[in-house]
C-alpha cells in the first residue's frame, strides 16, 4: 500500500507537483532549515567548516527540526538532542542546511521507499533515473550543488550506491570511527555514518571534523585504538614503493554491465600506466556476502524497529490499538511502508527459534569468514584483531565497481521484484560486513553525462589511505579515458581478460537459500505485521 510511484506522489503531495512540473526538483530535502541558513537561529562559529552548508540525512537527529527517517511512523518527530555528529559539525562552524530524503529507515537501494515521495535523479537526457539509496537525497543535494557536502548513512552500500548513481564521491569510513549516537538505528552492527561531496578534499575536511571518540556510543572506537590506527596505517609518501591495488576476481561477475566492466579495466590500465601495481586477489566468501547481509540487517532491523508503537512518540491511530488480539498491529500497519514491513517480517522469521540456527547464526559465521578473507589480502594488519599481522606481500587497497550497473531508470526500478532490487548491493555489502572503509569515486562517461562509480576498499582503519588514493585518482583526471578497445591490463605478467567472468548465481550456492527467506516474507507480507 505504501509504495509511492511517481504519479502517486504527484497526486498525494500537491507541493511536489509544482516541483516536478519545473523539471528540476529532485525531492532531495524533507526539511530545509532556512532560519539557520539565514543566520537567524545560530551564531557564526569559527572553525574549519565555517559557513559550509551541509545537508544531513533524515535519520540523523537534529534538535529543533523534525527527524522522520522518511517514515510516517515518525511524522513530526523531534529529537530533544542533536546527534553527536551534528554537534561536531556545528562546532566546526558548519551550517546544517536541512534533512535529506531517503529510503524509509535506510531500507532500499534507490530512495523510492519514502513517505516523502521518491528522490528523482534527472539525467542530461531528460529521463528520470534512480538516485541510488538509501542516502539518495544527500547525493542529490551534493550533485545539484545545493550543499557543500552531505551526511549519509551506509549500512550495506547506502552512501556508495547513491554516489555511484549521481556522479559524486561517497565515503563510508571504518565502522565505529564516527559516532552513531543520535543516529536512528537500522542495523546497528553495520550502520556507519559517512560523507558525500563532489571532491575528495571536502570529504577529508568533513571527516577530520567528525571522526572523534564518543563515550555516548558504546561502539565508538576508543582513543587508544585510534592511536594504533595511526601507527599501522601507511600513507602514499611513506610507502616507499608503488601503491599495490588488488582486483578481487569474485567481483568480475557475468551479471556486470559491459560499460561498467570496461570502465573498470580502463581505470586499472590508467593506474598501471602511473606506476601503480595491480594484482589479482581472491575473496572467496564474496558469494555468500549478499545473502548474509540480507539475513543480518533485517534481523537487527526487526529488533530496532520494535520500539515504534506510537506510545511515547510518533504516529498512532485513534482508539484502541489492539487488532484481533495483536497489540500495536494497527499502528504498525498504517505507519510502516511495504519494504520496511517486508524486512521486519524477514528479520522476525530469521530470529525465530525454528530458523535462528539456519539463518542468523549461520550468517554470523559467514560474516567472520568475510572478515578473515579481507584480512588475508591486505598488507596492513587489522588493528581490531589481536594477533593479526597482515599479509607480507598483500595489497594496500582493493578496486572494484560500486554497483553492477550505472543508474537505472526509475521506471525500471519500480518494475523490479524486491530480490532483484537487493542484488544492486552485491559489491557494497562485503565491506559493510567487515566494517572496512570504502569510497565510491565517479568516473564520468565520455559519451554521456552519466557516470559510473568505482569503489576503493581498504583495511580496517586505513581511512586516510583510502581518501589519499581517492584524491590521487581524482587528480589523474579520469574523465577523459580513450575509447575502450579491449583489455591491455597486465596482471602478474599476463594479460588480464575481463571476459573470464563468473556467474554470480552459479557461484553462490547459498544464494538461493538466503533469498528463499526473503521471498518467503515477501509472499506473506502483511499477514504477521506485528508478530
Amino acid at each position: 500500500m505504501h509504495r509511492f510511484g511517481l504519479r502517486n506522489v504527484v497526486s498525494r503531495h500537491g507541493r511536489y507537483t509544482r516541483a516536478y512540473s519545473h523539471g528540476a526538483a529532485s525531492n532531495a530535502f524533507i526539511t530545509q532549515h532556512t532560519a539557520e541558513l539565514d543566520g537567524i537561529s545560530t551564531q557564526a562559529v569559527r572553525g574549519p567548516l565555517e559557513g559550509r552548508k551541509i545537508a544531513v540525512k533524515d535519520n540523523i537527529c537534529t534538535a529543533g527540526y523534525d527527524t522522520t527517517c522518511a517514515s510516517s511512523t515518525l511524522a513530526g518527530f523531534r529529537s530533544p538532542l542533536d546527534s553527536t555528529v551534528v554537534r561536531l559539525l556545528r562546532e566546526a562552524g558548519a551550517l546544517i542546511q536541512g534533512k535529506t530524503n531517503m529510503d524509509e529507515f535506510g531500507m532500499g537501494s534507490h530512495s523510492i521507499n519514502s513517505a516523502h515521495g521518491p528522490v528523482v535523479n534527472q539525467g542530461g537526457d531528460g529521463k528520470l533515473y534512480s538516485a541510488g539509496g538509501s542516502s539518495g537525497g544527500s547525493a542529490m543535494a551534493v550533485t545539484t550543488d545545493q550543499s557543500w557536502a552531505a551526511l549519509g548513512t551506509d549500512t550495506g552500500g547506502s552512501i556508495r550506491l547513491p554516489a555511484a548513481f549521481t556522479g559524486t564521491f561517497g565515503f563510508k569510513p571504518s565502522y565505529g570511527l564516527i559516532s552513531r549516537n543520535g543516529v536512528v538505528a537500522y542495523a546497528n552492527s553495520l550502520d556507519t555514518v559517512g560523507i558525500l561531496a563532489n571532491s575528495t578534499h571536502k570529504i577529508q575536511q568533513t571527516f577530520s571534523a567528525i571522526s572523534k571518540f564518543d563515550h555516548k556510543d558504546p561502539t565508538s572506537v576508543t582513543p587508544s585504538t585510534r592511536k594504533n590506527i595511526l601507527k599501522v596505517t601507511p600513507n602514499l609518501r611513506m610507502l616507499g614503493r608503488p601503491l599495490r591495488i588488488g582486483i578481487p576476481g569474485e567481483y568480475n561477475i557475468e551479471e556486470l554491465d559491459q560499460d561498467v566492466r570496461h570502465a573498470w579495466v580502463e581505470l586499472l590500465e590508467t593506474l598501471q600506466d602511473h606506476n601503480i601495481s595491480i594484482s589479482a586477489v581472491s575473496i572467496p566468501s564474496t558469494k555468500y556476502a549478499l545473502s548474509t547481509y540480507y539475513v543480518l540487517a533485517p534481523a537487527e532491523a526487526s529488533s530496532n524497529l520494535a520500539r515504534y508503537d506510537g506510545i511515547r512518540y510518533g504516529t498512532r491511530p485513534e482508539g484502541s490499538d489492539m487488532n484481533a488480539g495483536t497489540l500495536f498491529s494497527r499502528t504498525r500497519d498504517i505507519s510502516f511502508g511495504e519494504e520496511v514491513k517486508r524486512r521486519i517480517l524477514l528479520g522476525t522469521y530469521t530470529l525465530s527459534s525454528e530458523a535462528m540456527d539456519n539463518y542468523f547464526m549461520q550468517s554470523q559465521r559467514v560474516r567472520r569468514l568475510v572478515q578473515r578473507d579481507f584480512n588475508r589480502v591486505f598488507q596492513t594488519r587489522n588493528v581490531l584483531e589481536e594477533g593479526s599481522v597482515g599479509t607480507e606481500d598483500g595489497v594496500d587497497l582493493l578496486l572494484c565497481p560500486t554497483a553492477p550497473c550505472s543508474a537505472p531508470e526509475l521506471a525500471a526500478v519500480e518494475a523490479q521484484t524486491p530480490v532483484e532490487g537487493y542484488t544492486t548491493d552485491v559489491f557494497t555489502v562485503p565491506a559493510s560486513l567487515a566494517g572496512l572503509p570504502a569510497i565510491s569515486i565517479p568516473l564520468k562517461q565520455r559519451d554521456s553525462k552519466s557516470s559510473i562509480g568505482m569503489q576503493l576498499i581498504g583495511q580496517y582503519g586505513t581511512d586516510s589511505l583510502v581518501l589519499e588514493a581517492s584524491g590521487l585518482l581524482e587528480q589523474l583526471g579520469l574523465t577523459n579515458a580513450p575509447k575502450y578497445e579491449g583489455s591491455k591490463l597486465q596482471v602478474e605478467g599476463k594479460l588480464w581478460d575481463p571476459n573470464l567472468a563468473m556467474s554470480y548465481k552459479n557461484m553462490s550456492k547459498y544464494y538461493g537459500g538466503g533469498m528463499k527467506a526473503v521471498q518467503w516474507s515477501g509472499t506473506k507480507s502483511g499477514t504477521k505485521a506485528s508478530a
Binding site: V184, S189, T219, E300, S303, L351, S352, S353, M356
Partner: protein, 609 residues
C-alpha cells in the same frame, strides 16, 4: 561447538572491563545514593514484616505442615504416589544508584516519569551505556549464592510487544549469563518440608543481569497510565534447578534467597514492596512410573508473578493438586503459562503453548561483552558480609543470644537490626568499661531488639515498623546498663523503655535521670532485705533451669501441648514455676508476666519446631 553468538561486530573493540579500581568508585556512589534515598524519602527506607508476625507465621506454617489439610500432602498415600518437582525464577531489583543502561537515578519513589533518559524511553538514536556500578550488587548476590562468576558475559535482546516495554525488547543475558552453578542450602530452621530431612541443597543454574519494565496503571477499561521511572532498573534473575519437591520448601527457598540478598546488600526491598517477584515451574510425575535413575520430569507449567511467600507456597500446592487431579482422571498436562490471584484457591490459564511468545533472542549489537576480573571477584569475596548461618553461630557463641533471636536479628531488614544490636552492645560495654560481660549484655540487648521494642510498638498501636531511631542505641545501652548494674528491675526496665519512647525530651534527659524522675530506680533497702536474690539476673537464666525441671517432671503435659496442640496448657507450667520460685524466695523478684514469657520461651526453645 565452541561458537557463541555475539552482537558486536568487533568483540575486542571496547569490552566493559571491571577491575578493582571500580570497586572503590562504585562504593562511593552507592553511599551517596543511599544517603539520598534516606533524605528524600524516609518511607522508602527498609520495609519490614513485623518480627513477631514473621516468627508466628513460620511457626504457623510448620504446625500447619504437620496436620495439614491438602488431599495430596507429602506424607499421605496420595503424596507418596506422586512426586512434585519445582524450579523457581526469582527477579530481584538491585540496590543501585543508576539504571542498567543509563545514568538516570533509580529512585522509584519519585514523581512518575521523571527519572528517565532517552534510552530508557527507547528514543530513536539513543544508545545503551552500561553502568558499571550495577555489577557490584549483582556480584555480591551471585557470590552469596555460591555461583561461579563468568569472566566474560554478554547482553541479549528478548523481544515481545507490551506497553511497559518501550524498546519492544528487554536486554538480558540469555546466551552467556555473568554467574552460573550456585547452591543454596536450606536447613530445618529455614522452614523446609519434613520430607527434605535436616537440609536440602537447591542448585542455582544461572544468575543474569537484566532490565526492569515500566509500571502500568489501568485507569479504565481501555486506558492505561504508564510510569517509566522503573524502566531499566537493574534486576537479577536467579534461576534455580528443579531441585524443590514440596510447597513449603519452595517458599523457604524464596525466603532464604530474599534474606541472603538483603544481608549482602544486593537489594533494598523484598516481596512486600514488589522488589522481588517469583515465577514457579511446576510438574508432577508418578513415582511408580519411575525407573531408579529416570530423570525425565512430567510436563511442566509456569505460574508467573508471585509476589509473596504465601503465594509461592499456595500456588505450588494448588497447581500440584490440579495436575494430579487431571492425570488421575486420565488427562494430560498442557505446557502453558498460568496465573495466581492472591487469596485464590486455583491457578488459572494465561497463555496456552501455541500462544507463547517466541522471544527471538538476539545478541545486542550495541553492547560489548562484560569482562569481570578475577581480582575484583576475590576482593568482593573478602569483603562480602558473612552468610547468615555463620553470623547466627557468632551471635549464639559470642554474644549469648538464643538461636531463635539470632536468626531473627540476621534475617530481618537490611541487616539494619543487626547493626543496631552491635552498636548497642558496644555502647553498653563502653558504659560498663568492660567487655567481660558480652554474653549477658548481648542476650539482654537481643531480647530488647527482637521482642521488647517491637512489642512496645504493637502495644501503643503503631505499625511496628522497625527503625534504629525508635530507641536510640545509646539510650538502650543506658537502660541495659542500669539493669545490669542492678539499679532497676526487669519490669521497671520495660516501663522505662516505654517512657524513653514516649518522652519528647528523651534525648535531653538521660535515661538514669528519666528513671529517677519516674521513680523506677530500685530502693537499695529492699535489696539488702533479701540478700542472695539477684533480681537482675537474666530472668531466663533463673527461670530456665527451674522450668526444665518442671517440664521433666510433667512429661505428659508436655506431650499434650506438642501432640494435641493444647498450647494454652503452657500456663500450667507457669503456675508450677512460680510456685517453685516462691520456694526459693524469688517469687517477688519478678513480674509474673516476665516469668510467663520466660517459661514459654524455655518451653519452645526446648520443644519447639
Amino acid at each position: 561447538m565452541s561458537w557463541r553468538p555475539t552482537g558486536s561486530l568487533f568483540k575486542p573493540v571496547r569490552p566493559i572491563t571491571l577491575s578493582t579500581k571500580w570497586n572503590l568508585h562504585v562504593q562511593r556512589c552507592r553511599r551517596q545514593s543511599s544517603l539520598r534515598t534516606f533524605q528524600d524519602d524516609p518511607q522508602e527506607a527498609p520495609d519490614n514484616v513485623p518480627i513477631r508476625q514473621q516468627l508466628k507465621d513460620q511457626l504457623k506454617q510448620k504446625k500447619a505442615a504437620k496436620k495439614k489439610n491438602s488431599k495430596y500432602d507429602d506424607h499421605d498415600a496420595m503424596g507418596k504416589a506422586w512426586e512434585l518437582t519445582v524450579g523457581i525464577e526469582i527477579h530481584a531489583e538491585l540496590d543501585t544508584a543508576r539504571k542498567l543502561f543509563s545514568s538516570a537515578p533509580t529512585n522509584s519513589g519519585s514523581k512518575p516519569n521523571t527519572n528517565v533518559s532517552l534510552h530508557d524511553l527507547a528514543y530513536p538514536g539513543a544508545q545503551p551505556i552500561f553502568q558499571i556500578g550495577t555489577v557490584l550488587p549483582a556480584l555480591r548476590a551471585a557470590l552469596a549464592l555460591d555461583c561461579t562468576i563468568q569472566r566474560e558475559s554478554t547482553f541479549d535482546r528478548k523481544h515481545y510487544f507490551y506497553q511497559d516495554q518501550p524498546a519492544g525488547y528487554q536486554i538480558t543475558q540469555f546466551y552467556q549469563p555473568f554467574a552460573k552453578n550456585g547452591t543454596l542450602t536450606l536447613g530445618e530452621a529455614d522452614g523446609i518440608s519434613r520430607q527434605d530431612g535436616d537440609s536440602v541443597d537447591i542448585g542455582i543454574e544461572r544468575v543474569q543481569l537484566e532490565q526492569d519494565t515500566a509500571k502500568s496503571l489501568v485507569v479504565s477499561g481501555d486506558s492505561t497510565l504508564l510510569d517509566f521511572n522503573r524502566v531499566s532498573h537493574p534486576l537479577i534473575e536467579i534461576i534455580s534447578r528443579p531441585d524443590i519437591h514440596s510447597p513449603a520448601t519452595a517458599a523457604a527457598y524464596v525466603r532464604k534467597v530474599q534474606a541472603l540478598l538483603k544481608s549482602v546488600g544486593a537489594v533494598t526491598a523484598g516481596m512486600e514492596t514488589g522488589g522481588l517477584r517469583a515465577d514457579v515451574n511446576v510438574s508432577v510425575r508418578k513415582r511408580s512410573d519411575l525407573a531408579p535413575e529416570d530423570t525425565r520430569l512430567g510436563q511442566r507449567t509456569e505460574i508467573k508473578n508471585l509476589s509473596s511467600l504465601k503465594a509461592v507456597e499456595d500456588a505450588v500446592k494448588a497447581e500440584r493438586d490440579r495436575q494430579i487431579a487431571i492425570l488421575e482422571s486420565g488427562g494430560t498436562i498442557e505446557g502453558e503459562t498460568r496465573g495466581w490471584t492472591v487469596g485464590g484457591t486455583e491457578t488459572y490459564s494465561l497463555r496456552k503453548k501455541e500462544g507463547e511468545v517466541d522471544y527471538r533472542y538476539m545478541p545486542d549489537p550495541d553492547l560489548p561483552p562484560l569482562i569481570i576480573s578475577q581480582q575484583l571477584i576475590q576482593q568482593l569475596q573478602a569483603t562480602i558480609p558473612l552468610p547468615a548461618d555463620t553470623l547466627v553461630a557468632k551471635l549464639v557463641d559470642g554474644y549469648g543470644v538464643t538461636e531463635k533471636d539470632a536468626r531473627t536479628l540476621c534475617n530481618m531488614g537490611d541487616g539494619e537490626r543487626l547493626e543496631y544490636f552491635f552498636d548497642a552492645v558496644a555502647r553498653t560495654e563502653d558504659l560498663l568499661g568492660s567487655t567481660d560481660m558480652t554474653a549477658r549484655v548481648g542476650r539482654l540487648i537481643a531480647n530488647f531488639t527482637v521482642h521488647e521494642i517491637p512489642a512496645l510498638m504493637t502495644k501503643i498501636d503503631l505499625e511496628p515498623q522497625w527503625s534504629p531511631e525508635l530507641i536510640p542505641a545509646l539510650q538502650l545501652a543506658s537502660l541495659v546498663h542500669l539493669l545490669h548494674t542492678k539499679r532497676i528491675h526487669n519490669s521497671a526496665a520495660r516501663v522505662l523503655l516505654a517512657k524513653i519512647f514516649e518522652t519528647e525530651d528523651g534525648a535531653s534527659l538521660s535515661v538514669s535521670e528519666l528513671a529517677e524522675k519516674e521513680n523506677l530506680l530500685r530502693s537499695l533497702q529492699t535489696d539488702e532485705d533479701s540478700p542472695g536474690t539477684d533480681s537482675t539476673d537474666l530472668i531466663d537464666d533463673v527461670v530456665g533451669p527451674v522450668s526444665a525441671q518442671v517440664f521433666e517432671v510433667n512429661q505428659k503435659m508436655v506431650n499434650d501441648i506438642l501432640v494435641k496442640k493444647e498450647v494454652k496448657k503452657v500456663y500450667f507450667f507457669v503456675g508450677l514455676v512460680m510456685k517453685e520460685l516462691g520456694k526459693q524466695g524469688k517469687a517477688k523478684t519478678y513480674d509474673p508476666r516476665d516469668v510467663s514469657d520466660a517459661v514459654q520461651r524455655a518451653f519452645w526453645d526446648k520443644y519447639g519446631p
